[in-house]
């Protein structure tokens, strides 16, 4: 097992959790910056070539976990591993962002849904995507269908 360490911090327009768009149809198109610590800058070499990045970050304000929870997109409880709830056994968040520009240690990105000051744990290039027609979205598709009834 390991102890997490930040490789940088997110600059985001969201200062409080309630400001972050949530639930069905939420669009995450906010621009933000991943400010990577200078000691990790060499790790960004060649990252400019990728259009999308997977950002792993820490739910720093989350305290403990719940195995069942009712997400904002539904009125029924679901297992934590079938949701993006912040109250997870390992408080790791994941966001796919579009990389707009790199300036040294700064990655300017689109699509942030983290709070300002969120610790970044890791960045990975997005290499492939599952074609839409092969993707099933479980309870979320059902909740959407109910809302459109």
């Amino acid at each position: 097992m390991f102890t997490s360490r930040p490789i940088g911090l997110v600059s985001s327009p969201y200062k409080e959790t309630r400001e972050i768009p949530k639930g069905l149809g939420a669009k995450h198109q906010a621009d933000g910056v991943l400010n990577i610590l200078p000691e990790f800058e060499a790790g960004l070499t060649d990252i400019e070539g990728f259009s999308h990045l997977i950002v792993l970050w820490e739910f720093a304000r989350s305290d403990g976990f719940s195995l069942l929870g009712t997400p904002p997109s539904d009125n029924r409880p679901h297992g934590v591993f079938a949701t993006r709830s912040p109250r997870r056994p390992n408080p790791i968040g994941l966001t796919i962002v579009e990389l707009l520009r790199r300036k040294g240690c700064e990655l300017q990105v689109r699509g942030v849904d983290m709070l300002d000051g969120t610790p970044v744990l890791d960045i990975k290039p997005l290499l492939s995507s599952i074609p839409g027609e092969k993707l099933r979205r479980g309870w979320l598709a059902e909740a959407e269908a109910r809302r459109h009834e």
Copy 2:
């Protein structure tokens, strides 16, 4: 910061790192099982509805990190955050698997590329994918192009 804790272990056909298909054109279609610990079973509620899961896991055999490395798919060094290298500041791996079947605490999945016994840290439903035509794959696309020259 937090200390990681396993929510389960991967059963995989790969007992040694060298057995895992790597590099350009590697296909990850091996079947495996995510054996979730009984204390976390409630967190799997409704996971059956999703076709694909994002699995976060720990590079348990990795020791320390390197900011630059030469991946098996190229003969040039790249930054760790532009690769899937195991030697990362936070040793977190990510694999997208297809969920074939759930049997209680066992998730039977396709597409494992982890070693047998790898600790699972988190599971999240895959909710969307970036359309292929919008995805740029940086140095990897260039390395592929060079190989096909």
